[in-house]
C-alpha cells in the first residue's frame, strides 16, 4: 500500500491537471455606463394594501442609473449552449436561489437561476403576494405566497430572454427571471459592473439584454462604436481574464 501511494498521488495530480489547468479558465468583466444625463426614476403609486406598501417609497425600476452613470440590471449571458463548464463554476448549481417579495417589490429585480436549480420564492412582507412568472419554454406559474410563506420552483429548460415576474395583487411589482442552461450569466450591479467567472478560454458569444431596451444592439466598447444584432457579441476570453472596460449605451437605446 505504502509503495502505491506515490504512484496514486502522481496519477491524481495528472488527472486534476487534465481537468483544470489554471490557464484554461478566465473571467469576463465590464461596466455598463449611461451615455447621457442620468434619468430620474419615477415614483410608483402603491394604491393597494396602502397601509403596508404605502410606507415604502417605491421607484420604477425599468432603468436604474447610478450616481457615476453605471446602469444596473443589464443582463449578460453566454449564448453558446454547449459551452464547457469549469468545475468551479459548476458548484453554483447546488445552491438555492432566492427571489423575495420584500417591501412590495421583487428582490432582486432580476434573478438568475440555472436549469434544474432550485428557486425559492419568498414573501417577507406582512401581506400576501402572488408571483406570476411568465416563462415561455417552461410552464408559466402563478403561486399565491402568503405572508411569510415560500414556494419552491425548478425549471426544466432554458429561456431565450428573461421572463417577466409580476404580482397581480400589486400590479406595480415587476421583476425578471433569467433561466440559463449553465452558470455563465450575470446581472449588472448598482454601479453598472458585471463579472462572469471561470469561463473556458477562447472565443464565446455573449448576449446583452435590458428590460427597457430589449436586446442591446448598439453600444460603444472602449470608445469604439459597435453593432450587435440581437445583442450578440463575440468576445475572446483570455487566460488572465478579459476586461471589456466601459460599455457605453446611448440614451436613445432606452427611448423605445
Amino acid at each position: 500500500m505504502t509503495r502505491l501511494m506515490p504512484v496514486l498521488s502522481a496519477a491524481l495530480l495528472v488527472a486534476s491537471a487534465a481537468v483544470a489547468p489554471a490557464d484554461e479558465w478566465g473571467s469576463i468583466k465590464g461596466k455598463f455606463v449611461f451615455g447621457g444625463d442620468p434619468p430620474t426614476a419615477s415614483e410608483l403609486k402603491a394604491d393597494k394594501d396602502v397601509e403596508v406598501c404605502g410606507k415604502h417609497k417605491l421607484l420604477a425600476e425599468e432603468l436604474i442609473v447610478g450616481g457615476d452613470k453605471g446602469i444596473a440590471n443589464v443582463v449578460v449571458f453566454v449564448r453558446d449552449k454547449d459551452v464547457k463548464v469549469s468545475p468551479e463554476a459548476a458548484k453554483a448549481a447546488a445552491a438555492k436561489v432566492e427571489l423575495d417579495n420584500a417591501n412590495c417589490r421583487f428582490e432582486p429585480h432580476v434573478t438568475f437561476v440555472q436549469v434544474g436549480q432550485e428557486l425559492v420564492v419568498k414573501n417577507s412582507d406582512t401581506v400576501g403576494h402572488n408571483s406570476n412568472i411568465a416563462t415561455i419554454k417552461n410552464p408559466p406559474s402563478n403561486n399565491l405566497i402568503p405572508a411569510g410563506g415560500t414556494a419552491s420552483l425548478k425549471f426544466a429548460s432554458d429561456e431565450a430572454i428573461p421572463a417577466q415576474v409580476t404580482c397581480n395583487i400589486h400590479p406595480w411589482m415587476k421583476g425578471w427571471l433569467l433561466v440559463r442552461p449553465n452558470p455563465y450569466a450575470a446581472v449588472s450591479k448598482a454601479d453598472g459592473t458585471f463579472e462572469i467567472e471561470d469561463l473556458p478560454v477562447g472565443e464565446l458569444e455573449l448576449q446583452f439584454w435590458h428590460e427597457k431596451a430589449g436586446y442591446l444592439g448598439e453600444m460603444s466598447i472602449g470608445g469604439k462604436a459597435e453593432k450587435a444584432s440581437k445583442g450578440r457579441k463575440k468576445v475572446t476570453v483570455a487566460a488572465g481574464g478579459t476586461d471589456l472596460g466601459e460599455i457605453v449605451l446611448a440614451p436613445a437605446v432606452f427611448q423605445k
Binding site: 402572488n130 406559474s141 399565491l144 410563506g149 420552483l153 395583487i169 453593432k227 423605445k256
Partner: protein
C-alpha cells in the same frame, strides 16, 4: 366531404401568397367567378404578434413595411402548408388530430348526406370566436367577457395543472355546461359526435395558433433582417410543431390530484348545517388568511377587493400600447422604427379588441363560470385560473407544496358555497340574507 391532403412537408411546392389580411388571389377568384358567390373563408394572421415581434433593430436600412410584409407572407405560406384553410383543414400525422372530425366541423354549413351536417364550427362558434379562433368574430366586441381567443392555447376552466392544456373531457364538459355568467351557451343538445368534432376543431385552431406564435417568437430571437424561416421538416415539424403537440397530448395525463374530502365536510348539506359549521369556519379563516382570497374578492367576498388587473389576453395589448404610445410621443425614432410604431398603432386600433380589466368574481351570487360542483371550485382554487390574475393555492406542479394543504382546500370550497346565503351575517342584518333578493 373534404379529402385529406397529402402531408405537404417537405417537397410539396408551397403556394406563395403575397397578400396578408386580404389575399388578392381571392379578389381575382371572385372576379373570375362573378358576383353573388361568397369567397372562401381565409384564416387571418395574428397581426398583434406579427407586428409586435417585428420591431426593427437599430439602424435597419430596409424599408420596414416591405420587409415585414415579406415575413408575414412567409408565415401565411407556412401555416397554409401545415394546416390548410378553413374550408380544407390539413392535419399532419404529427398533430395526432382526427381528420374526419375536423372535416365535420370545418367549412361552410352544408349537408350532402342525409342525417349528417358539416360546417359545425361556422354554425355554432365562428360568429363569436372567429374563423381563425382568434376570439374576434363579428359579435365579439359587443360581449363581456370577450370570447376566448384559442391561439395562445390557454384555457381557464379545466381539471389539469394550471399551465397544462385542457384534456378532451375538459372541453367536452365546457361545451355541455357553457360558461354561466358569460355569453357562452350550453351545447348539451348537440349529438355527442358533433361535440367531439367541435372539440377536435378547437384543438386544431389552438395548435395552429400556437404554431404561428412560436414562429414569431423564433423570428424575434433568431432571425436577422435578411433571414427567412427554414422551410424544412426538421425546423417546422420537429422544432416548432412537436413541442406544441406534446403539450396537447400530455393534457390527457395532466389532471391535478384531488384530495380526499375531510370528515367534517358534507357537501350534501348547506353551509349553515351543523355538519358543516366547523369546516365553513375553517374555510373562512383560510379565505382571509393563507388562501389570500380576500385580497381581490374583498372582505365581503363581493368581488370588491383591490384588484383591477388585466387577464393575459388583454394585458398583451395594454403593455404593447404603452410602449407604442410612448414611442410615438417621444418622436425621436429613425425611419424604420417610426414605420413600425405607426403600423403598431393601426394594429392595436384595428386588429385587437379594446382591453378591459378583469374584475374578481362576486362570490355572493352563487354563479361560477367554470361550474358549480364542489369539484369545480376545488380545481379553480387548486391551480388558480390559467390566463387570469387568480393565483393557485395548491402546488404549481406534481410534488410541489401549495400555500394551503390540498385537503384544506375543501374547507374554502365549503365556505364559498355558504357565501350566497350569508349565514354568519357578515354583510350586516339590514341586508337581505338570500342572494337573489339582494342583487
Amino acid at each position: 366531404m373534404i379529402k385529406p391532403r397529402q402531408s405537404p412537408l417537405p417537397g410539396m411546392k408551397m403556394v406563395s401568397r403575397s397578400g396578408l389580411r386580404v389575399v388578392p388571389v381571392l379578389a381575382v377568384l371572385v372576379a373570375a367567378v362573378g358576383c353573388g358567390r361568397t369567397p372562401p373563408a381565409a384564416f387571418r394572421l395574428n397581426m398583434v404578434q406579427a407586428t409586435k415581434s417585428a420591431a426593427p433593430e437599430a439602424g435597419m436600412e430596409k424599408p420596414w413595411a416591405g420587409w415585414a410584409r415579406e415575413r408575414q407572407a412567409q408565415v401565411a405560406t407556412i401555416l397554409e402548408a401545415m394546416f390548410g384553410t378553413p374550408d380544407e383543414p390539413v392535419a399532419l400525422a404529427e398533430t395526432g388530430l382526427d381528420h374526419a372530425k375536423l372535416a365535420l366541423a370545418a367549412g361552410p354549413v352544408r349537408s350532402d348526406i342525409v342525417g349528417r351536417k358539416n360546417g359545425l364550427y361556422r354554425e355554432h362558434c365562428a360568429h363569436c370566436h372567429g374563423i381563425s379562433g382568434d376570439g374576434m368574430g363579428p359579435t365579439a366586441a359587443f360581449l363581456n367577457p370577450y370570447p376566448r381567443d384559442y391561439r395562445p392555447g390557454k384555457f381557464k376552466f379545466k381539471g389539469t395543472w394550471r399551465d397544462a392544456r385542457p384534456s378532451r373531457d375538459d372541453l367536452v364538459r365546457l361545451l355541455h355546461q357553457g360558461v354561466p355568467g358569460s355569453s357562452m351557451p350550453s351545447f348539451a343538445l348537440l349529438p355527442p359526435a358533433q361535440v367531439d368534432a367541435l372539440v377536435e376543431y378547437v384543438r386544431y385552431l389552438s395548435i395552429r395558433g400556437e404554431t404561428e406564435l412560436a414562429l414569431y417568437s423564433y423570428a424575434e430571437q433568431e432571425l436577422g433582417t435578411d433571414d427567412r424561416f427554414p422551410e424544412t421538416r426538421e425546423f417546422l415539424v420537429d422544432e416548432i410543431l412537436t413541442p406544441i403537440v406534446e403539450k396537447w397530448q400530455g393534457a390527457e395525463e395532466a389532471a391535478i390530484p384531488i384530495a380526499a374530502v375531510p370528515a367534517n365536510v358534507d357537501f350534501s348539506k348547506p353551509g349553515d348545517d351543523p355538519a358543516n359549521r366547523e369546516s365553513v369556519a375553517r374555510g373562512r379563516t383560510l379565505f382571509h388568511g393563507d388562501g389570500g382570497c380576500v385580497k381581490c374578492h374583498g372582505v365581503t367576498a363581493l368581488g370588491d377587493g383591490q384588484a383591477n388587473d388585466y387577464d393575459d389576453w388583454n394585458k398583451v395589448i395594454v403593455e404593447w400600447s404603452k410602449e407604442v404610445s410612448g414611442g410615438l410621443a417621444a418622436g425621436k425614432s429613425d425611419a424604420a422604427r417610426s414605420a413600425w410604431l405607426h403600423a403598431a398603432e393601426d394594429v392595436i386600433e384595428g386588429d385587437a379588441l379594446r382591453p378591459r380589466t378583469i374584475p374578481p368574481r362576486n362570490l355572493r351570487l352563487g354563479l361560477y363560470r367554470g361550474g358549480r360542483r364542489p369539484l369545480d371550485l376545488y380545481r379553480r382554487l387548486y391551480t388558480g385560473i390559467n390566463g387570469a390574475p387568480m393565483p393557485g393555492v395548491g402546488p404549481s406542479g406534481p410534488g410541489g407544496k401549495g400555500s394551503v394543504p390540498d385537503e384544506e382546500i375543501w374547507h374554502i370550497v365549503n365556505y364559498i358555497r355558504s357565501l350566497p346565503y350569508d349565514f354568519d351575517g357578515e354583510l350586516g342584518v339590514d341586508r337581505p340574507l338570500v342572494a337573489k333578493d339582494r342583487f
